[in-house]
Amino acid sequence: MREFKVVVLGSGGVGKSALTVQFVSSTFIEKYDPTIEDFYRKEIEVDGQPSVLEILDTAGTEQFSSMRDLYIKNGQGFVVVYSITSQQTFHDIRNMKEQIVRVKGSENVPILLVGNKCDLSHQRQVRSEEGLALAESWSCPFTECSAKNNQNVNVTFAEIVREMNYVQNKSRQSKSCCSLM
């Protein structure tokens, strides 16, 4: 089975941890323990193909700016999250793509832009169009979701899997076509 390492990035308070928790623990667990080895691992089936995601969520450690490089280095796909209720968090991630590309040393990095907390539409500060525009400039997909209401959460993670599959295939193709030439 394929295994992917996904890094969740974004400022503090955008609900990253809630998003991850919602994804990795869809059932109610009596003893909830994030310190166990496979806590952040989950199997997901996308387009008939099962794969395992290992999530690295940076929630709680956003202050450790010196560690961001390492997080990015460890990841294969990136879920960049902002909160639709805060313009500031949207602003914070504007140059995230450039950072990821720089660390990974390649333009072809699977990224997904996510606007969280869409259940709080009455407090919305970032319009869907703004999110979409940024995603277009990054040439990556975009979703809005609500971790609280479990709305679009699995879709989000399925989307990043598709993106990773797509980028992998593309680079494989380009390699094979290079070798052909």
């Binding site: 623990s25 290992e54 202050q63 333009e107």
Partner: protein
């Protein structure tokens, strides 16, 4: 008027003009102490005057409000007047039931009281205390052969080495009527050493009775040293470094005593004709025991076991007696007692040890809590004593460490032990007993039980008959209202309940476990603010203290100790106007009730918290002036740099309160978690500082030399278990701008053992494993702790879903708090240990607060200058 009151009042009057809050507050505390000691504290008029004095001073100093100084002076004079009017009544001791001021009775007593709190009794009790002999239970490996005729030999060796050292220093200062002083000093050192070895060999065969032979071997050593010294206070300027100078001054002292005395200035406001005797004791004791067992059959080794135990204790105590003529007028003492135990045992290779279960503190504690009938001391082990479980890679040794430190005070003015649960010194000594250590192998056998978490949870519910207006805070017992976890009919720990029930349960003296109380105190901020809790507790205390029955009194005492503990751990952020007002008005109430002892304890603690200022500049050395010639990295040994980094880290780490971490996981408020922010900033600064030092070097050779130096420093940091700086440097070395450059094979090889630590896979499995093997003292990497807390917070509801508790709403989900406690408690335990490092100003100065660094952009630019990127060319092609 008593001399003591007079002096303290006059001193406070003088201090008022300085406008220094701290000074004024501590001088006020002195007045309060003097009055409570020397006056009739039952007098209403006097109490009222004290309260109004405190009110006005608190207003000025605690709350920083404008106050007319003349008003304070007036209040102070009033207190002075009334204290003269109502001196302590010696004839009516019955009036002072609540306050344990029995100084004057002791004065009359001539026969020494064995229970009296003085340093000699303390020492006697300590000397009587013996480390019990260590007898680990080794698993008996059965003989699996059918051979009935073979000879079985069992050899048991027991070794015990004891080493005790004691240094008693007595100093007597006699104040002559004209204000001059004579000082005498006597030091006595005793060292005792003793080793014993017992060997028992028993032989058994099928047709012969068992034969046992015993050998014993003992050695003793004794060494005593006494030194007497008479010195004059006036000649205190003698230099200790020059033995001749010292010798001369001693001679002079004997021959020309009168002349020397005349040289003394009389600025000291000593009481004429008084003398004071101070006695300091330092006592260290170390007992190491080793037991090994070997079983052979016909020369074939069946089993071999070995276990050892090391007990260490350290006492430092000081007592000052003040005499007026020949009568003892005051006795005060303080000190600390520290005890640590280390048990290590080798496990038989072939014993059935499965993979070690992941040990959570809570699980570890539940193991002790599981069997409540078990000895209380066993239970204590998991809560007040730091315990660490270490299992090394091949599982051949098992190690447990216990450490306990107690600070205490005593005085003739009544006991005020700093460790609140301990009523007096003899209790203190009983509490430090480590009699029942669980043998490690039994410990491992028990673990499967812990791993198996109860799945079906039975709810125990409160009676619904309680009328809605009933105030839980005024109940003796909250147990009926608390929801417990239950497994097979056995009540495990608290699972949840209404806020007030949890508070009541935490303050009652019976039923509730120490473990729960500890968990409550660490995590209450997640469901109630300190202010609200303190107010509720004050209400509870007052209600209970008004009742006459002993149960209520005991609850009141317990409640008070919880209040003190909360005040002790309040953060600077919480100490706002409302909290201070609540506490100070409670102090007035205590005075009103005649309870001067409690009021003084509480006021002192509050003062300590408010005074507790912290200057990060001093820690980082950024306030030091720069040296003329700047140093560079290679001026210092790697070990020294590692030490100084650890010195800085551990100071910053010790400042972090559990509350800050809990808050951070919830709201990431920098104002609330100031110390935490300081600590993470230090991490980032160090990382960028390291990057800068490496990348700004002009040549490849220099860059590699610097890189290698940091790898060496990292190695030392790991050995010292300073994972904060260790990971900060590692994050720098592994950062892409540096990692993308070419490095020699030498460096790549040296880095291999470190890079795996930073692997984020499987929830930082590698780092967690490394941390488990760490021996305290230790500074952990706080990022993972924050991440764990964030996820525990995000993943667990604050209240128990109402459908799970018969529709009741707002039941606090205490399981979430247990989880938080498990994470925080390990932090708190690590904080109990300290590194023995001296600050080296030159190195700290060199660090310069790690401010001299370039930003991330510039680092990237330099990196690309050294090795141009091929990214753009690729995309263009």
């Amino acid at each position: 008027m008593s001399k003591e009151i007079d002096i303290s009042i006059r001193y406070l009057e003088n201090v008022l003009s300085t406008n220094n809050s701290t000074l004024i507050l501590s001088s006020t505390a002195a007045v309060l102490e003097a009055v409570s000691k020397n006056c009739d504290t039952t007098n209403g008029e006097l109490k009222r005057s004290i309260i109004s004095l405190l009110r006005i001073i608190d207003k000025k100093c605690f709350l920083n409000q404008d106050v007319d100084v003349n008003q304070i002076k007036f209040s102070l004079q009033e207190v002075g007047k009334l204290s003269t009017k109502y001196p302590k009544s010696h004839q009516k001791p019955g009036n002072e039931v609540k306050v344990k001021t029995n100084a004057e009775f002791r004065e009359i007593e001539t026969v020494p009281n064995p229970d009296e709190e003085n340093i000699d009794n303390l020492l006697n009790q300590l000397n009587l205390k013996k480390v019990p002999s260590f007898s680990p239970a080794f698993p008996d490996i059965g003989d699996d052969s059918d051979d009935e005729n073979g000879i079985t030999t069992k050899q048991k060796e027991e070794e015990r080495a004891e080493q005790h050292g004691q240094k008693v220093c007595e100093e007597e200062v006699v104040k002559l009527p004209d204000g001059r002083e004579i000082r005498m000093k006597k030091t006595k050192t005793v060292n005792v050493k003793q080793t014993t070895k017992h060997v028992t060999i028993s032989t058994k065969s099928a047709n012969m009775p068992e034969v046992s032979r015993t050998f014993m071997n003992a050695r003793r050593g004794f060494d005593e040293d006494e030194e007497e010294e008479n010195t004059n206070f006036g000649s205190s300027n003698m230099r200790g470094g020059d033995p001749f100078e010292r010798f001369r001054s001693m001679l002079k002292d004997k021959d020309e005593k009168i002349e020397a005395i005349e040289g003394e200035s009389s600025s000291d406001p000593g009481t004429p004709g008084s003398s004071s005797k101070s006695k300091t004791i330092e006592r260290t004791s170390e007992v190491s025991q080793k037991v090994s067992e070997k079983k052979e059959k016909d020369g074939r080794l069946l089993a071999e076991h070995e276990a050892s135990k090391l007990d260490k204790s350290n006492l430092f105590a000081k007592q000052v007696d003040t005499y007026q003529g020949a009568a003892l007028i005051d006795r005060k003492g303080e000190g600390s007692y520290e005890e640590s135990t280390l048990v290590r045992s080798a496990l038989p290779q072939d014993s059935q040890v499965a993979t070690p279960p992941r040990m959570h503190v809570v699980e570890y504690m539940m193991m002790f809590g599981d069997d409540k009938k078990n000895n209380e001391n066993e239970y204590l082990k998991g809560t007040t004593i730091s315990s660490y479980v270490r299992l090394n890679n091949n599982l051949t040794t098992h190690e447990e460490q216990f450490k306990k430190k107690i600070q205490f005070e005593f005085s003739t003015a009544g006991t005020s032990s700093t460790t609140i649960d301990l009523d007096n010194l003899s209790d203190l000594l009983n509490q430090t007993d480590f009699n029942c250590l669980r043998p490690p192998n039994k410990f491992l056998e028990d673990t499967p039980l812990i791993v198996e978490q109860p799945k079906a949870i039975d709810w125990q519910r409160e009676p619904t008959s309680a009328p809605p207006e009933k105030d839980l805070l005024l109940e003796h017992d909250g147990v009926d209202y608390v929801i417990f976890r239950e497994k097979e009919g056995k009540v495990l720990e608290v699972r949840g309940g209404p806020k007030d029930a949890l508070i009541v349960y935490a303050t009652q003296s019976t039923h509730s476990s120490l473990l729960y109380q500890e968990a409550f105190l660490i995590t209450f901020r997640t469901f109630i603010s300190s202010l609200e809790l303190v107010n509720k507790l004050i209400k509870r205390y007052l209600y209970m203290s008004l009742a006459d029955d002993s149960q209520s009194e005991s609850i009141a005492r317990h409640t008070f100790s919880v209040i003190v503990r909360i005040i002790d751990e309040t953060t600077q952020y919480e100490l706002d106007f409302d909290l201070i007002t609540s506490v100070t008005s409670f102090v007035y109430r205590l005075i009103h009730d005649g309870n001067f002892t409690y009021s003084r304890i509480l006021r002192t603690r509050l003062l300590d918290r408010i005074k507790d200022s912290f200057d990060i500049q001093t820690v980082l050395g950024t306030n030091l002036c720069k040296p003329r010639k700047p140093h560079d990295l290679f001026d210092f040994k790697s070990a020294e740099i590692a030490c100084q980094l650890t010195f800085i880290d551990s100071q910053l780490y010790h400042r972090i309160e559990s509350a800050e971490l809990l808050w951070w996981a919830q709201e990431q408020n920098e104002k609330k978690s100031k110390n935490l922010v300081n600590f993470t900033e230090q991490f980032n600064n160090l990382s960028f500082w390291v990057r800068t030092l490496i990348i700004t070097q002009g040549t490849q050779k220099e860059r590699e030399r610097h890189m290698m130096k940091f790898v060496k420093i990292m190695k030392h940091l790991r050995e010292m278990c300073n994972f904060n700086s260790y990971l900060a440097i590692l994050s720098a070395i592994m950062s892409t701008p540096l990692a993308r450059l070419e490095w020699s094979k030498n460096i790549k090889d040296a880095l291999k053992e470190h890079t795996a630590v930073m692997d984020t896979a499987q929830s930082y499995k590698n780092y967690r494993a490394l941390l488990q093997t760490a021996k305290p003292p230790c500074v952990p990497y706080i990022g993972i702790i924050l991440q764990d807390l964030t996820f525990v917070h995000a993943g667990n509801p604050d209240t128990i879903p109402s459908d799970r508790c018969h529709g009741a709403k707002n039941m606090i989900n205490f399981l979430k708090r247990w989880n938080q406690f498990a994470i925080l408690d390990s932090i708190r335990k690590l904080k109990k240990w300290n590194y023995d490092i001296k600050k080296n100003d030159i190195v700290v100065q060199y660090f310069n607060g790690f401010k001299d660094c370039i930003d991330e952009e510039r680092t990237w630019q330099l990196s690309h200058q050294i090795k141009p990127s091929n990214r753009k060319s690729k995309t263009q092609a």
